[in-house]
């Protein structure tokens, strides 16, 4: 049942997906009753954050949420995050590092000014709303970068520590230059902000408790060289140890640019529990990539099927005729909530992850 709360001695890693386009969110339970929310997704019909809906379903008080992480400011990871923050009064906020926060705030506020004039639909607005929430209530924020421990809970004789594996120093430095350029180019044209590569700034995370490791890949791509992305992590991370992860949230919807064999050589055990959220309207994940992931594990779980509907929304037939004459194609990004929930008893010796699927979630296999 989706309504049951984990026991005090269970760690929970729950991935909530929407079929792509409306976000993904990961919910972690560490220690006896401490909760962490990573990214946000919404129901596009109600605009309600699915993470809050899930916590409510299993009877978790949102005052138990201690940390909210924004891995990057893409719409499919940040939608509804300001509301999540406002509903979790004790949560601190963590986001990808920027050298000059004031410069980033200037970009966000310029975008907000443009939005007020009707000229922006950018996800920076959601991000600036998040900062406004923590500004008003006085909770702390943390800028995540590689090799930082973002949070530690010490309970039941164990440490539950969440580490940031990215962004790398070079990525942070590059973003500083990119910010200056975005601000310089801002305001002349009526366009939304186009930041080509927020995925580079994604915060990949590593959860350690006892001998267990959980790797959460966000949308981090592999990078051009050893100073960026996953290439930087496998080569230079200072927080990896002899224990490999048995649960891995695959990066960037299973795309080719998020796969690096060395991740499995160094960070993830064979036949681990692998999870991902499809981004169906972009055709992710592709079958070729899933075939590669199947060589690493046969325990692959998706928050929704990968079947893409090619249809537009259903409308009055006379309107559909005009629409069909006017476009080459029109495809609805369908919303389908799916939940992949994994739990493990951290006090029991030799315990393994058990995974349950809800609503649109599926187990992926070759057939």
């Amino acid at each position: 049942m989706i309504t049951d709360k984990p026991t005090q001695s269970e760690v929970e890693i729950t991935l909530i997906g929407t079929g792509g386009g409306y976000g993904e969110s990961i919910i972690l339970k560490v220690g006896i009753d401490s909760w962490i929310i990573i990214d946000s997704c919404i129901n596009p019909f109600s605009n309600e954050p699915l993470s809050i809906e899930y916590l409510s379903q299993i009877g978790v008080d949102t005052t138990k949420v201690i940390l909210i992480v924004c891995t990057h400011w893409h719409n499919d990871h940040i939608k509804g995050l300001a509301k999540v923050l406002s509903l979790c009064p004790n949560a601190e906020f963590c986001f990808s590092a920027v050298h000059d926060l004031n410069k980033f705030l200037l970009l966000c506020e310029l975008d907000n000014t443009k939005k007020l004039k009707g000229g922006s639909i950018s996800s920076t607005n959601e991000f600036s709303d998040c900062l406004a929430v923590i500004n008003n209530r006085g909770t702390y924020f943390t800028k995540a970068q590689c090799n930082l421990v973002l949070n530690t809970v010490k309970e039941t004789g164990l440490e539950f520590s969440l580490y940031a594996l990215s962004p790398s120093p070079k990525t942070i430095s590059d973003f500083d230059s990119e910010l200056s350029q975005l601000i310089t180019e801002f305001g002349k044209r009526n366009t939304a902000i186009i930041n080509k590569s927020p995925n580079d700034k994604s915060v990949a995370l590593l959860l350690k408790f006892g001998e267990h490791r959980v790797l959460l890949g966000a949308d981090l791509e592999i990078g051009k060289d050893e100073y960026e992305g996953w290439r930087h992590i496998v080569k230079h991370s200072k927080v990896l140890d002899e224990h490999k992860a048995n649960l891995y949230k695959l990066p960037h919807h299973g795309s080719e640019n998020g796969y690096l064999k060395e991740i499995f050589d160094i960070l993830v055990n064979d036949n681990s529990t692998l999870k991902l959220t499809p981004f169906r309207i972009s055709g992710l994940p592709k079958k070729e990539m899933m075939d590669i992931y199947l060589t690493h594990s046969d325990k692959i779980y998706l928050t929704s099927s990968t079947i893409v509907s090619k249809k537009a929304k259903k409308r009055n037939s006379s309107i559909e005729k005009v629409i069909n004459r006017s476009v080459i194609s029109l495809i609805e990004a369908k919303f389908s909530r799916g939940i992949v929930r994994s739990r493990i008893d951290f006090l029991a010796l030799g315990s393994e992850w058990t995974t349950e699927l809800y609503e649109g979630a599926i187990a992926y296999n070759k057939t």
């Binding site: 924020f141 305001g187 044209r189 939304a192 200072k238 005009v322 006017s326 476009v327």
Partner: protein
């Protein structure tokens, strides 16, 4: 009735100040007011063409000055001047384009909910709007009833939002907003492990 101004000036101003929204409706009364204004504008132009001695002070930059209704009170959309009834509209943001086509994320302004991805022919954009096409550009796509030669026909129309320029005041106000909105932010510093 509003201030004296040329119809052209009012049109340009209204288009900038009152961009297309899904709330725009042209009522029959408003249409009558507009039709009367256009007729008076046309009469003055005819008078000017027939009588070269027509007083130059009655013109502003080549356009006749008229005591016209305040258009902003009755209409807030460049697009709706063409529609007698709008049935369906979307707000779009361009995510990619080629020499012949462009692809956009489309938000349904009527039903809300899920978004759609549409691919369009570039030739469907009016020549005036073509130079506004770029990645991130915002446009409005509407389907509605048009009046053509007295006949109501269903058609679709794409209009790009006009230029929005952030001036010095906007920049200064933005900087003030940063202090107001984020002045109490508290960072937790964590040492690298």
């Amino acid at each position: 009735m509003g201030k004296s101004a040329s119809l052209n000036t009012i049109y340009l101003e209204s288009e900038e100040k009152y961009p297309l929204t899904d709330t725009t409706q042209l009522t029959n009364t408003n249409l009558d007011i507009l039709n009367n204004a256009v007729k008076r504008y046309s009469d003055v132009l005819n008078a000017y063409q027939e009588d070269v001695t027509y007083k130059k002070e009655n013109f502003d930059n080549g356009y006749p000055l008229l005591d016209l209704p305040e258009l902003s009170d009755i209409y807030d959309s460049s697009n709706s001047k063409k529609f007698s009834k709008k049935i369906q509209s979307w707000k779009g943001v361009i995510i990619s384009y080629t020499n012949k086509t462009f692809t956009a994320k489309l938000l349904d302004l009527d039903a809300g909910g899920t978004f759609e991805i549409g691919e369009f022919e570039k030739e469907d954009i009016s020549p005036d709007d073509l130079n506004l096409l770029s990645e991130g550009a915002i446009f409005y796509w509407s389907v509605g009833h048009y009046m053509e030669n007295g006949q109501s026909v269903k058609r679709s129309d794409i209009r790009f939002q006009r230029l929005i320029t952030l001036d010095e005041n906007d920049i200064e106000n933005t900087k003030l907003n940063i202090e107001r909105r984020y002045g109490n932010l508290k960072e937790r510093k964590i040492d690298n492990r």
